[in-house]
């Protein structure tokens, strides 16, 4: 294993340990989506009769929405962890060792990706338990999980960059609270695009959250559209790479301010 890869793995292990050894945190991360699934599943049950959902069961439609929304809401807090590490002195300790800056940030990315994947699979399984149907099979589910991991990476990396730049909890809390619901409702999370007002639909086209949902839903349908899956998935990948690059760059500006 090359140094950069092994260092990334050490950093990932370190973070996974936090997830595993703090069961309360792990359970909350995993339980919150269940509540969404249950609440929205019951609240909007009948809306599927309006048509345009591509299914007769609202749960089928809802599962990818909740998977992606949960990927967003758990990753957008990544900056809080980084902030903790700055305040505790952990980040500075690592920065004075020969560890590569990319490994530091990528450890975060891989850890968040693994947690997001686990969370996504659990939601999909819970959906199955509740009677949801996934005609796209395992392949479709894998695309959904991958798309949600990419989306999580985008927002996780941005949140980390924000944490290092502003170094205030309040800013992260403020921005997250401001973004979570609008981003979710300006997407096809709960409502079929054909039922949305046209201006909302146009905004949703530019919403990365929506890209992940569209790609996932298409892959999970009986008749996946490769163009849609690859197009949206590719855009998410490009965005994720850009966000991670940006967050690694942020180390420099952080170091100017220490």
């Amino acid at each position: 294993m090359s140094t950069a890869v092994s260092q990334t793995w050490y950093m990932t292990q370190r973070q996974l340990m936090v997830f595993v050894r703090q069961p309360a945190y792990a359970i909350i991360t995993l339980i919150q989506p269940v509540i969404w699934l249950f609440l929205f599943g019951n609240l909007f049950k009948e809306v599927v009769e309006l048509g345009g959902f591509g299914t007769t069961s609202y749960l089928d439609y809802l599962v990818p929405g909740v998977v992606v929304m949960s990927a967003l809401s758990s990753n957008m807090w990544a900056g809080m962890t980084t902030l903790d590490e700055i305040q505790r002195g952990t980040l500075n300790r690592f920065l004075t060792t020969p560890v590569s800056r990319a490994a530091l940030m990528n450890g975060n990315v891989v850890n968040n990706g693994l947690v997001t994947a686990l969370q996504s699979v659990i939601i999909v399984l819970l959906g199955l338990l509740g009677g949801a149907d996934y005609p796209g099979g395992i392949g479709g589910i894998a695309v959904l999980v991958l798309a949600s991991v990419l989306l999580g990476t985008v927002f996780g990396a941005l949140s980390n960059a924000l944490g290092m730049l502003v170094r205030e909890r309040e800013s992260i809390i403020g921005i997250n609270t401001f973004l979570l619901l609008p981003l979710t409702f300006l997407s096809s999370a709960f409502m079929a695009p054909s039922q949305m007002p046209s201006w909302m639909r146009h905004i949703a086209d530019f919403n990365p959250l929506n890209w992940a949902m569209v790609a996932g839903r298409s892959a999970m349908s009986a008749d996946p559209d490769r163009g849609v899956v690859l197009g949206r998935g590719g855009a998410l990948l490009a965005l994720a790479v850009a966000a991670v690059w940006l967050s690694i760059r942020t180390f420099r500006s952080y170091q100017r301010s220490v």
Partner: protein, 335 residues
Amino acid sequence: MNTRAPAIEARQLIKTYPGDATALSGMDLAVEPGTVFGLLGPNGSGKSTTVKILTTLARPDSGSATVAGHDVLRHPDRVRRAIGVVAQSSGADPVATGRENLRLQGRLYGLKGAALDRRVDELLDRFTLTDAARRQAKGYSGGMRRRLDVALGLVHRPEVLFLDEPTTGLDPQARTAMWDEIGRLAGEECLTILLTTHYLEEADRLAERIAVVDRGRIVVEGTPDSLKGELRGDAVHLELREAVQDAGRTLLTGALRGLPGVHEVLVDGRRVSVRADDGGAAVPALLAALERAGVGVATATVARPSLDDVYLRYAGRRYAEVDGADGLTLAGGVR
């Protein structure tokens, strides 16, 4: 005398933080290999900024520095391999055990396998953490955590160790234990240690050479004894019943300075600090002079020169005042 190149050398370091006052205003530093060098100064004097630059964490606006022969700006990676850093908050992972913390730190320097195991066991043993090795660091006492921090800085056997305020926040017992440990470190392994502290007593006890830092630069440097020796005679501190204002202050300073055997006089509010050849003999004359001036005296103390006096002399301020509310500093430093 050691003829080798300095283990740490800084030339004219200048650093200004955005929106802040200047942190470093021309820091020059040279530390001989294998010695303990103390940077002494109150909070905000520039000690920590200096350490951050020397440990490649921050970049100076101008100036240059080498550590273990490597340029901190041009070859930060080489510097990082040669140094161990124990910062004020070293941030051991609270969720990880002591052993896991040490193992990870070792791996970052490329240690692995049996060599890593051996080194970790050795450090756990040396810092009496073997019994706590399997416990998460969040359950450690302040002293244990600090010992773990120092052990983390030593995993890869660095040439130069930076200890940034190693005993701040420790109870007296843990502090004494840490001093003993640092003293042992200094004796072994031909390690160069740069120690920053705002405890005068700590610098006096541990460092072979001391530099007093004030407002981002070094105001005086030397061995603790030579610094104290440069101060002639004893320090006499008088506390007045009432503060003396501007005109009275000049008058009083002049009157006291004229007394035989009295060298330096500093009147500051209710405090009068005097340097005298023989403190005991000067007190009656001082009291008489103050009585003539109509100024009541509450207390008078005579002290042998301490680093506190060194600071007062070269920084022109009393140490405890600059350092704010930290009463321990003065208590630890005056005598």
